[in-house]
Every structure is written in structure tokens, then in C-alpha cells.
Symmetry: C3
Subunit: 351 residues, 3 copies
């Protein structure tokens, strides 16, 4: 058997492969594929958490390629509660073990995809990604990560696509800014955003409050990518100053890994300091505003930014569809994927 | 950009257009379309409330035209809770704003459809239809109303189809009778039923208890249609007498707009007075019995009526499928829709 | 109208028909059908209980034949609560009667399928299968049983397929062994497993604690099949001894019909006595281990068995897909089904 090809983490692939996937997705956006390489095939999209963009973009992408998307809300009534740990006596709430469920899905479906958010009790446990690891260990078909504790690689492809549609990223400045929230959210989107920006050769600035550092492994990968590309990596706790000179402002809230699971401060001054607003945006010259969505308006980002000329969040969300097609073709019909990318894929840089 | 075409309310279209859609649906029933104009396309069906007929008929219609129906249970675990109001600080339960969600769906899907029942607290607030209005305001693709506070236009198309299959409606007598229930239900189905009966030139009688009047705007539209068609409009609180001479008896329970949100009286005499039963049906000459379903047997209508010769409720439900096809073709493939209607569409009037 | 063809219970069909369906399913596994006889058609899969294999295998099978699977979670928010009893005043929680819902689904869909577990209060009431009976009584299209109180016939087809892939069943020894659990589970899988083993001419042994006998009607059918095939039927409460000489060990937990609804004993000795483990398996010569899944590891069966050379549970689960195709073709495209079975269908007996 040839090695099984998954799309689980950016770090599992060579940087060139990731950049090629972004180019392939842009080519698929320019010329939607007419072939139906997934005709007659079904794909299982397993959600342990809510989803709008991920669910609908993968469903639409699958159908456009001829396949059937089967969306499963795992463990919330629709299917059985799932156990991931080995060796346990299953006399609790979980009626099924992933050691059976995952290979069974592989007998019915051409690929399996999983969304599994961190549980928020222990970062060490969450970082091990028990459900996603179980999928990867026991699957006999390609596995797609639809957001886990340490990454959201499909989102990252769409992020870089959106940047590339507006500028050549190499040497440009990318700001990831932490943002206020009512909950301690996962770090996955932030992780993948800075990882792909660094891969693409951008100078990366991370603005976050003291205590909200990203995981050391993520930072090591970003540092290595920046070094390899001759780019700068800056970490600061002064958000307003951080905007100066940025070409891309990427907003995201996430929970502290130090005070794990605790919601961030809710006082007005703290929120005002960290929310993305027009005054901050104006410190950069015509920057692009990105966010993965869903976004809480006037908490993470002010209406004036989301509704202003900076925002590309709807384009960014649309790009999830084309990125999904690129990933599906890469995993399930690589010959079709290859032909989808013209020899010299044009990059549009309208800015 | 040409004006976006929606199917939101009967009142948004000229009466001739509505009647043409009914004819188109009947033609599609007689000769199911062989073309697959939606091939490769996905459609988003967003439900904030339960559904059987609407969900399945739109799914089957979409598939029969080549498309993929994506059914989303909005805000009940499957997707994020949705905010509709502008300018708010989103620090509550809603994680996503429709100002993002609706345009994003439009990037993935050829059309978006919404079911959003009234909240039952304030008629003024419900009548403004915040969710549906948000869909219409922010959508970049056609919007379909799958029942809102003030109308259920797809149901109305099926209602008139079912009448036309049995009689030429013009000049015939249509009774909408209020019926008992355990809850204060929406008025939407009743609104649309009398609006389309009036559009089709029928004499309209509404039998309801004092205090259960339909909204004044609905009544004004019905009055205008009846006047334009030279038809009679009667409102009465004597249900038994109202049956005399009726060709169609349309039963529906709805909540009082005066005592908004309160359930109707539950005493046996009141229920017996208003429930549709055989004795009342026999006051008319061979009347047709219609109800949108689901229906509570022996509370809204007696078994003897639903199971008797008068009932056309299963045909009426089937017609939802053909009406859905007509609406989808009208919005998404008007050239196919036009060719589906033979130059002289035959109307069957077996009665 | 020709008689409507359902797939509800093994007992509704002649034994030869059941065995032919198993052969057809094996032929479909060897050569997946290229035809799309369900193109443009929708099928309704109604779940009143959780499902993984049944839901996904039927969805994938339907898509592979060109149709759209519509999965409905009945009565759990997605659709309306359903009433099955006739003549009642519907002033409770159920908003819709199956007397309407089932025929309506038949107007939209080419077939309707139902999963409805027993309620666990009264065996007499559950044995009458009120929901499934309502589907059969009121459906105008083929009905498929996706597990009811007294049978899971689609699982049984997959069970026998898995046996036939490894041995010629006639004259071989089949052990159904009761297994520990935290809940009083339905007997349906156990019922169907012994019924199809007996149909196929196997000697049947049932090992269960005193008080956990299967329903007398099931036992009568198994006894009759064994008699007709010249096979032995044994019932014992000594699990360890029962393994000797078995070719197939089929594990399943079920609730007592005598002490109906009560969970089984949870003490360690009882659990150890009845759990399937390697020591017991080794009392037979190279036996095949089957279980319908989901299975609670180290409660029903030890890891060493599920992960050992005996287990065929993943193949057994895969066979649900091919069995589903065989059932769908049998009901909806019998001409395609017939051509799918080569004149002399090869049976593989690698053991």
C-alpha cells in the first residue's frame, strides 16, 4: 500500500507544497473544474463543534466535484458518543470507540474530515489532539483537519489566497492581533495564520497581552520560517503601535495558555485597547483586514472596520470553497488537481 | 448588476406572476423536468424552526434539478447563534452576525432559503421579520421564504394548485376557519392562504373568534384583491354558519394578535365550536378540505374529516414539491421555467 | 396497483429470497454497479435514534446509485414530534400524525426508511412496533426497517455476507452470546442474527443468563428453520462451555424481556463470566468474531479479541454498504438488481 495522504497540519507538508495548494485553489477559483472526479463517492464530514463556513464550503466543494457530502454531528444525538483512549473499560457515556468508527467510515467514504475543538481543561491534553490523532492513526482513507486544537489549515489556505489576490506576500508585513472576547477561544486559527504568513515570506508581528503567547512549538516554526525567508518576527503587547506599516491586519481572539480556559478580562479599557477599530487601522497605509469568521462585532472588531474599505472577510470566506476543492483534489484526484493549475499560474495583485 | 430576484412574499410580485407560478408548478407536476439546470450547484436551506414538508420537498426538488440541498439548523448546535440587529456589541449568545453569514452563504450557494418563526413576544417586532429582512438586505443571491412571521408563500402556491386541480377558482367560495390548538401559532399560513385565494378571484370568508383577527395589512390586501376581482370578503365569528355554500374549507389555528403569545381557550365547548368536523363540513355541498400540515387530529380537525372524502391534504402536501421546483426554476433558471409551461397549460377540474 | 414491496422483517420474505439478497450483496461488493437507477430520486431515512453505520451506509449506497439520501432526525428538533396511535386527541407534545407524515414522504421520496428503537417500558407495547407498523400501514412507497424492536434485517444481511466470505455456512456452528452492558439494550440485532444463521442452515447455540431469553416468536422461527435444515438449536447459560466447536461467535448485549427495561447486573464476576475474551475464543478452533457495532470495549468484548485475528467486525460493517445497495435495488430497481447477480455467483470461502 502506498503511503496514505492526509491534510491535517501545515507542518506535515513541505512549504512548497502548501504554497502550491494555494496557487491551485486560486486557479480553481478562476476556472471552476468541469470534471466530476468524485462522482458516486461519499465523504464523511464529522463535526464535534458548530460550523458554518467549513460545513457549507466542504459540502458545496464536494458536490461540485460530483461527490456526496455526509455531515455527521458526532456525539450530539445524531451518532454515538465517541471514545478515543485505548485500553479503557467503556462503561461510561461513550457507546463507540473511534478505533471502530474511523475504519468503518473509511469503508463507506473516500475521505473523512474532523472538526474537534480543544476541551479547555488542560493544554497538554488538548495539544495531543486525542480525537484527530485517533482519526489519523486508524483511518484507511485520507483525513482532513477541519480545525483541531493546534491548527486550522484549510482556513490558512484561504487566508493566504486572499492576501495573494491583493499583493505579492513576500517581504510584506503581517500583523496578527489578539482581540477581546467573552470566552477563552482555541488558538488554532491564530496558529495557522502566522504559520502560513511566515511560510509565504511575510514579516510577522504578533500583538497580544502578556500571558497570551501562542504555543512554543508554533513560535519555533514561525521563527524558523521567518529565518529561512529572511523575514522579521516581532512580538509585542502594544497593539496600537503594532499597526504602523502593516499590509495585513489579521484579528483573532484566543484563550491564554498560561491561565488555560479562563475568559479574558471584560473591562472596557482592556477591550478598547485590543479591539480592532478604524483609528488603529489608519496607523497603517491601506491595510487589508482579515478574520476567519464568525466574528463578534464591536467586541473583536468595530463595525466601521468590518463595513469599511479594509475588510476582505467575505472574500476570505469564499476562498474556503476553492481551498476545499484544492484539498479534495490533492487527496482524492491528484491528476485532476495537477491539470487544474496552469503552467504559469497568474497571481493577481490589484493593490 | 441586474436586480436580484427573490421569492419572499406574495405581495412582492404582481398577481399575474403568482398565478403564472401556480400554472408552472402544475405543468411541472404533469411533466417532471428532465433538465438538470442546478447541476454542480448547492443551495442553503436555513431552518430556525422544525420542518418536514418544507425541508423534504425543497431537498427533493433541488436534487431532481441536479443541485445539492444543504440543510442548516441555524443556532441549534449545528451552526452558530445568529445576530440580526445592526450596531450591537456582540457580547451575548450570538457568535455570528447575519451581515457576514448571509453574504458568505451567497458565495457558496446559488440561493439561500430561510424559515424563521415569530418569537411570540411582540407582534410589532415579529412583524418586522428581523431575520428574513436581514437575509433580504444582505444576500447577493436569491432568497426564498420558507415561512416567516407574515407569510408562507410556497405553501400558498401549493394551496392554489390543489384548488385548481379540482375547480376553476374564480367566483368560487373559500372559507378560512380558525381552529383550536394548545399553542399560540403563527398567522403566516392563514395570511398567505387568504391572500392567494383572493388573488385567484375567490369569494373569501374568514371565520375566527373575536380577538383573533388577522393583521390589518393582510386584510387590506385581501380586501383590495377581492374588490379588484369583484369578489366578496366576509368576516364572521359564527363558524358553523360560515360553512354554508363553501367550495373550499381551509382550517388553520393561529394566535391572537391582540393577546399576543397567549394560548387559546382550552374548554371543551370552545374547542367543539371551532374544530372542523363532519357536521360542519356537511353544511357545504361537497367542499374541499385543506390544511398545510402538520395538523393535530381531533383538536384542529376530526378524524372523520381528515380521513373522509373531503380531504385533499396529502395532495396539497405533494404540491409543495412541484411548487418548490417552480420557485427554484423561476429564480435560478428562468429559461427552463418558461419552457416548462406549455403554451396552453391545461387546468384539470375534476369536480 | 401491484403489491407494494417492503424490506421490514426477515420473516416477511421466503428464506430463498433472503439468501438471494445476500448473494446479490456479495456480487455488488465484487462489482460495484455502474448504473444510476435512482438518478433524480430522493429517499427519506427517518431516525428516531442515533446511528452511524446505518445512516452513512445507506447514504453512500443511495448516492452511488444516483439518488439523494435525506436524513431526518424525527422528533428531536429537526422535524415535528410524531403520533402513531389512531383516534387520539392530539393535545400533547406530538404535533404531527404519522398517518399524514408517512404518505406525504411517499409523495416526495421513492422509499422511506425508519429506525425506531423500543421505548423500554412494556415489551408487549414495544413488540407491536407502533412506529414501524404505522409506516408500513400508511406508506405508498417501499418501507425499509433500519432497526425496530424485533429486528434489524439489514444488519442480518451483512452478518451472513461476512460469514459467507469465510465459510460455507450450512452445517457450521453459530454461537450467539449475550454480553454485559450498562443499559438494557434492544433484542433486535440478536433476534435477526440467530434468525438468519438458522435460515442459512447453521447449528445455532444461544448462550444467555437465566431470564434473558429471546422472545418466544423469535425462538419458534429459529427452531423451525433449524428443523427444516436438519440443524441443531441449543440454549445454555454456561458461556465458556458454549464456545467449544463454534465457527462463528456473535456477541451482543440485550435487555431482559422478563425484567423489562432494567439494566443487567454490574458486578465484576458476572461481567467477567459473560464478556467475550481471548480465553473463551480459544475454546473454539479459529472462530470468527462478529458484532454489529457500536461495541463497548472491555465490557462487551476484550480489546484482545476485537484487535485479534478473530475479529471481522470492520468487514461486517463494510458489508452494510453492499447490503444496503442490494436492498435498494431489490425494492426500487429490481431489473438492475437481477442483472447484478452473475448466474453462478462465486462464494469465497478463504477459511
Amino acid at each position: 500500500m502506498s503511503a496514505l495522504r492526509h491534510f491535517v497540519h501545515l507542518r506535515d507538508r513541505a512549504p512548497e507544497e502548501i504554497l502550491r495548494l494555494v496557487d491551485a485553489a486560486l486557479a480553481l477559483k478562476a476556472a471552476p473544474p468541469a470534471a466530476r472526479p468524485l462522482a458516486g463517492k461519499s465523504l464523511a464530514f464529522c463535526f464535534m463543534n458548530p460550523s458554518l463556513r467549513t460545513q457549507v464550503s466542504f459540502a458545496a466543494a464536494t458536490h461540485s466535484l460530483g461527490g456526496l457530502p455526509i455531515t455527521l454531528n458526532m456525539g450530539s444525538g445524531g451518532t454515538w458518543g465517541m471514545e478515543a483512549a485505548e485500553g479503557v473499560v467503556m462503561d461510561g457515556t461513550a457507546a463507540e470507540h473511534l478505533k471502530e468508527a474511523v475504519p468503518v467510515l473509511g469503508r463507506y467514504c473516500a475521505a473523512v474530515a474532523l472538526r474537534s475543538f480543544p476541551a479547555g481543561k488542560s493544554w497538554a491534553e488538548d495539544k495531543a489532539e486525542p480525537h484527530l490523532s485517533a482519526f489519523r492513526r486508524w483511518s484507511t482513507v485520507p483525513v482532513i483537519n477541519m480545525e483541531s486544537a493546534t491548527g486550522h489549515p484549510c482556513q490558512a489556505l484561504a487566508d493566504l489566497m486572499t492576501i495573494q489576490e491583493r499583493m505579492a506576500p513576500r517581504g510584506k508585513n503581517f500583523l496578527l492581533t489578539w482581540a477581546p472576547h467573552i470566552k477563552a477561544l482555541p488558538t488554532a486559527v491564530a496558529d495557522s495564520a502566522v504559520e502560513i504568513a511566515a511560510l509565504a515570506g511575510m514579516n510577522v508581528t504578533i500583538a497580544r497581552p502578556e500571558g497570551w503567547d501562542l504555543d512554543a512549538d508554533v513560535m519555533a516554526r514561525v521563527r524558523a520560517s521567518c529565518a529561512a525567508n529572511g523575514a522579521r518576527l516581532t512580538v509585542t503587547d502594544d497593539p496600537a503601535a503594532a499597526y504602523a506599516g502593516q499590509h495585513v491586519v489579521y484579528a483573532k481572539s484566543w484563550g491564554s495558555l498560561r491561565d488555560y480556559g479562563a475568559p479574558p478580562p471584560s473591562d472596557a479599557a482592556f477591550r478598547a485597547k485590543w479591539m480592532v477599530d478604524a483609528a488603529k487601522m489608519r496607523r497603517a497605509a491601506d491595510p487589508l483586514f482579515l478574520h476567519c469568521l464568525p466574528v463578534r462585532r464591536n467586541l473583536v472588531v468595530a463595525d466601521e472596520v468590518l463595513d469599511g474599505p479594509w475588510s476582505a472577510v467575505i472574500d476570505e470566506a469564499e476562498n474556503r470553497l476553492h481551498a476545499a476543492k484544492a484539498v479534495l483534489l490533492d487527496l482524492l484526484a491528484p491528476e485532476t488537481a495537477a491539470s487544474a493549475v496552469p503552467p504559469a499560474a497568474p497571481r493577481r495583485h490589484p493593490r
